[in-house]
């Protein structure tokens, strides 16, 4: 019989599980049933006992690794914690959220247990055995995989299923002791990029994708980078949107071309950038073909503003293509949004 472990970790508060962790818990409950497996939930964090209340109703055995050493997302301590939890659970299959914290450590922890890891799992299904779907070549090829070897660790992508909602009494928890190696790394904090304001908002409803067209010569033969900055930042504020960019735009900073000051490689989506998940996406002044398209593969509803009616980025990729000047359209969109926000307040 398979033994399924769901590894979870706390958020910045130290006492609550991350949303991605609760999504993995929901997957664990579903597939423990489908596999006929026993279910254990492992929690890593400074105050694991408080966080355990959030997995009430799963009917799972709950193991925690807690204490000050686990307040920090550090490879040596987190890998030791994951390894200890998997050993205590005698896990044959392990689900974990594909967060930055666990993506860093789970493959190494699995190796210590003689196990194997597959990552970026977007969906799971039961065929003859457990099957996992993931992407290759930067979201350009999709594959369904199986592994015969155990333990099998699977890092589940965030936003691919609903989070577990606790019900009933808090579960009993068992503490798992961890023997830590010498800790040579100290986490000193989190630093936001040197920007005028934060432009990356993973929970935003809308992703705004800016293309290189914003910094090219416009109809009057001039570049209007400052105006582009105002329009883009204005939209991000008014719509509470997140900002993505094409590679060509972020690369311009290294090529002595006009740049948008707040744009960094962190904003880049596509082949060598992120593939964010938002319900809606609005691309503007983007052009290009296949390599760019992967950047918004996981955007549910897509619209584009471009002067090129045959834009390869938009046709066949967006639901609606507005053939228009993005400078003029976004100025009016911002004015309408500000009016609306003012009325709402």
């Amino acid at each position: 019989m398979e033994k399924l472990l769901v590894l979870t970790h706390v958020d910045e508060s130290g006492a609550a599980l991350t949303k991605a962790s609760l999504e993995s818990v929901a997957a664990g409950v579903e597939f423990a049933g489908a596999l006929g497996a026993s279910l254990t939930i492992g929690i890593v964090g400074a105050q694991g006992e408080a966080a355990a209340e959030q997995v009430a109703g799963t009917a799972a055995r709950v193991l925690i690794v807690c204490g000050e050493a686990f307040a920090q997302a550090r490879y040596a301590s987190d890998a030791a914690a994951c390894e200890a939890l998997a050993r205590a659970a005698e896990a044959t299959i392990v689900f974990a959220p594909a967060s930055s914290r666990f993506a860093r450590v789970v493959p190494g922890a699995a190796f210590q247990l003689g196990g194997f890891t597959d990552t970026h799992i977007t969906s799971l299904a039961m065929g003859e055995t457990l099957e996992a779907c993931r992407w290759y070549y930067r979201q350009r090829v999709e594959a369904v995989v199986r592994r015969e070897t155990r333990p099998w660790f699977l890092l589940l992508e965030g936003g691919t299923r609903a989070a577990w909602v606790a019900s009933g009494d808090a579960p009993e928890v068992e503490r798992v002791a961890v023997t830590l190696p010498a800790l040579r790394t100290t986490v000193s904090g989190v630093r936001a990029p040197k920007l005028d304001e934060q432009t990356i908002r993973p929970e935003a409803k809308v992703l705004f994708v800016a293309g290189a067209g914003w910094t090219k010569k416009q109809a009057d033969g001039q570049v209007h980078a400052a105006e582009a900055e105002q329009l883009i930042l204005g939209f991000l504020r008014a719509a509470d949107a997140s900002l993505g960019s094409s590679k060509s735009l972020v690369d311009q900073s290294g090529e002595n071309q006009p740049v948008l000051k707040f744009m960094t490689h962190m904003n880049q989506i596509g082949q060598t950038g992120a593939t964010p998940r938002h319900p809606k996406g609005l691309s503007t002044c983007c052009h290009g073909e296949e390599p760019h398209v992967v950047g918004w593969r996981f955007i549910t509803e897509r619209r584009a503003v471009s002067l090129d009616p045959n834009c390869g980025w938009a046709r066949g990729k967006a639901d609606v293509l507005y053939v228009a000047d993005a400078f003029k359209v976004m100025a009016k969109v911002n004015a309408l949004l500000m009016e609306k926000n003012k009325a709402a307040n």
Binding site: A103, P107, R140, R191, P202, H265, V293, A324
Partner: protein
């Protein structure tokens, strides 16, 4: 020498991102149609790692950069003609299969063997660099497993910056959720750093660097050890291209006011 490093950069080769890719059935794992014919480039994130390694080595005299690359010898040779022009390095070539469908754990094992065999490599001064993921498999598994195989438990992924201090310790910026960086301080080498984009532009081609590199590249390719990569129980149920086509409603010859109203209404829905 104080604060000098032996920087080992693991970098494979991937199809040029501008190529159209089509999966094809293989004898074992699947592959890409005409895979050996597709133009190849150094993996983009691993290339960032190489440029950062060269930059770090230049700042710390006595440091050395090794480029460990696994792929078919003929493809490695082709890609190295270009890469050699960029920064100084010593190539360690491993002759093995191409592609994203091979198992990351086997790749890590082959790389660990190659690194262990590097003559004169000082483990206590080693920084193990690579891309945090490849542009082919994109798993983010190879570097952590490779680190474990080499007994390194100070590991960082999604790295954009390293700053070495006078005492040999270094500060690392790693990408975390929400467009932020986690700041960590490590006591010193050895450590694993899986790079994101870093902050350096692609170096200009240098004929002098190219000449110096080429003296070592051909011998390295000639003595490249051939490896087979085990699947480790991994099998593929299906491999396919996603359905990409949407029915796009093209709106043209409509005033900006009207388009703006429609967009605002859509956002609010």
């Amino acid at each position: 020498m104080a604060n000098s490093f032996h920087i080992v950069v693991c970098a494979s080769i991937v199809p040029d991102p501008l190529q159209t890719l089509e999966p094809a059935a293989g004898a074992g794992a699947p592959g890409l149609k005409n895979e050996m014919m597709l133009p190849a480039v150094l993996d983009p994130w691993a290339a960032s790692a190489l440029y950062e390694a060269a930059n770090l080595a230049a700042k710390h005299p006595g440091s050395k950069v090794y480029l460990v690359s696994l792929g078919p010898k003929s493809k490695l040779q082709q890609v190295m003609m270009t890469v050699a022009q960029k920064v100084p390095f010593e190539l360690v070539a491993v002759d093995g299969p191409l592609g994203g469908f091979t198992d990351a754990h086997s790749t890590a094992a082959a790389l660990a063997e190659a690194i262990t065999a590097i003559p004169g490599l000082e483990r206590e001064h080693m920084l193990l660099f690579g891309g945090w993921e490849s542009a082919s498999r994109g798993a983010g598994v190879t570097m952590p497993v490779l680190g474990e195989r080499l007994g390194i438990t100070d590991q960082f992924q999604g790295v954009d910056e390293i700053t070495v201090r006078d005492d040999g310790s270094f500060e690392v910026l790693e990408r975390v959720e929400g467009g932020k960086h986690q700041v960590s301080v490590c006591a010193g080498a050895p450590a694993v750093l899986g790079w994101a984009t870093g902050s350096l532009p692609e170096p200009r081609n240098s004929p002098q660097v190219g000449m110096a590199n080429m003296r070592g590249i051909m011998p390295a390719l000639q003595k490249a050890k051939s490896v087979k990569l085990d699947a480790n129980g991994l099998s593929y149920v299906s491999v396919s291209l996603p359905k990409q086509q949407r029915v796009t409603r093209v709106v043209r010859d409509v005033p900006e006011d009207e388009i703006a109203r429609e967009i605002v209404q859509w956002i609010a829905e």
